[in-house]
Each structure stands twice: as C-alpha cells, then as structure tokens.
Amino acid sequence: MNLEDYRALFATVSLVLILVVAFPALSAVVSFSNGGERFSELWLLGPNHMAEGYPFNVGVGEEYSVFVGVGNHMGCSEYYVVYVKFRNQTQPLPDINNSKPSPLPPLYEFQFFVADGETWESLLMFEILGASVQDNSIFVGNISINDVPFSVNGFSMWDSENNGFYYQLFFELWIYDDVSSSLRYHNRFVGLWLNMTV
C-alpha cells in the first residue's frame, strides 16, 4: 500500500467515526421510523372470550353477550367510534368497495381512544325484548343493548333456504380524521347473524 491508499483508508475511518459520534444529534432531528403498513383491527369474540360460541339462535327475553375489540396499528394514538346497528336480510350493509357505511341509524355506540400498538375491548349484552310471528314473517319491536332499550321495528321474512328468520347485529368502525376534522367510516365492520326463534 502506498501513501495515497493509506490516506483514503484514514479518511474513510475518520468519516465513519464522525457519523458514529454525530448519531445522537442526528437521531434527535431525523426520524428513523420504519413506515410500515398502518391499519386498525376490529374483532368480535363469543361470550367465553374466544372465536366460538357466538349467539345464533336467539329467543325473546334471553340475554346474550359478545366482546367487541379494536387494535390500533396506525403509528399514533387514535380516536375510534364503534356504531352498533341492527338490520334484516334486505337492509343494506356497509359498502366495502366504496368505503361507505350502512345508511341505517346506529342503535348504540362506543367512543374510545387507543394508543399505538394497544387494544380496546368491551362486553356487549343484548336481548330481544319483543317479537311476534305473522304468517311467514317475524316482527322484532325492541332490542336491549347493555340494558338500554331501543325500538327497531323490523320485519324479517322466512328464509326457506336457510330455514330461519334472520337478522344481523353489526358493528362499524369509525376513526377521527385529522384532515377533515371529523369522524369517518374506517371501512371495517363485523356482523353477527341471529336466527329469531319465537
């Protein structure tokens, strides 16, 4: 190795050392976040806190329970709202392709804040308070959610293919949007099919 080669080696080593000692200052002003995928999770668990034993055949005057949960992987604390809605088979679900929520009015709601990497979960108890069968249709008048009674007044026709009167209790996830300064549908929902047995 001649002197020029040694000079280059010295310069390289010195530069690396300079970068090492400058790292504390650089790390304070430059973000080294990985910028991975940002998303939120929404889940529904059965009464035993497992993905089984979900209420399906439901009768009047009996109480059922599920757990609804949300996980935040958005990179910062988020403000979420979960709307609980009730529909029969003909009423609209959220439109996943166009990120549009169901136009049905919410019966119940949860508002909560979750730090990045954390989860939120809540128990939801429901009870059909009144239902009556008329020919090949059923009418559900009221439903109680967490001991609050709501009027739903929904008919459901007999589903001969699946042998039952079907309703769906579903949960929409909304998130606070900094840009529009309002809540927007987060394009996630989970549902629970209920077969009314009177």
């Binding site: 010295f10 300079i18 304070a28 709601e109 909560f112 609050v148």
Partner: protein, 183 residues
Amino acid sequence: MKKFGIKGLHDVDIMSVSKLFLLLLILFVFAAPIFVSGAFAAYSENTAASAIDKAEAAVVSAYEAVLGAEQAGANVSGLLARLNVAGEYLANGHIWHGLGDFENATRFANLCYDIGEEVRNEAVELKNEAHGLWVWNLWVRMTISMVGVVSVVFLSFLVWRSFKRRYQRRVLGMKPEVVSGES
C-alpha cells in the same frame, strides 16, 4: 215605548264577571301545560343538542392536544385513560339523546365536556414540558456530537500526521538494492 239595547259592562252583574273569570282561569290551568311542556321539551332538546355539540368539540380538542403532547414525546397513557371516560359519557349522551331523554343526554354531555376541558389543559401543559425537555435533550446531544466530531477530526489529523511522518521516514530510510544486470 220599551227600549231595547246592549248592556254595557258596568251593567253586567258582578257574579257573572267572577264566573267568567273563574271559567277562563280553569281553561288557562288546563291549557297551559300543553304549551308550556311543548316549550320546555323544545328547550330541553335544544339544550341537550347544544351540550352534545360542546362536548364533541371539547373531546376533539382534547384529543388533538393529547396527540400534540404524544408527538412531543410525552407519556400520554394517563390522559388517554381519562379521554376514554369522556368518550363513554359522550356516547351515553348520544344514546340518550336518540332515545329522547334530553335530561340524561345533557347530564352526560356536560360530564364529558368537563373532562375534555381538563384533559386538554393538562395535555397542553404536558406538551410544553415535553417540548422544553426535547429542546434541552437536543442541546445536550448536539453538544456531545459537536465535541465528538471536533475530537475525531483533531485526533485523526494528529494520527495521520504522525503516521505520515513515520511512513516517510521508513521509506527514506530504505537503502536501494543494487541488482546486477544480465546484459
């Protein structure tokens, strides 16, 4: 000739006046609640709606302040826990408003507003503290780095100079070898 004419009020019997007054009073007593309750219901609904609007604004403002504090590097877990209580009250406010129970809706909205305001104020203080700490931390890091960089440059220069001197001395100290030519 007999004269006919309408009697003036002064001609009406005192008893008739008191009867008329009593009748009007009874009518008023029965009719008033209809108008008053309607007015109160409208007032109550407006009060509840206004309280909910205020509570929503307070929660959003508190959340934005908490987010600011979090970005400044503060630990906001305690504030998030309290915001969750405010969120629960706000949700209850919406639910009771939807059910027409405006008194409960107003009560929950006011509770939410109070917590939202408290959280916002604390988040702003926390953000300022965190920002001050961040600035101090930055100064310390900058100073350490500057001293480090200057030291590395200076030491590198010294080491290079000494190395170069030794290298040149070694090169100059070399004796040329005489190789006998074949031709």
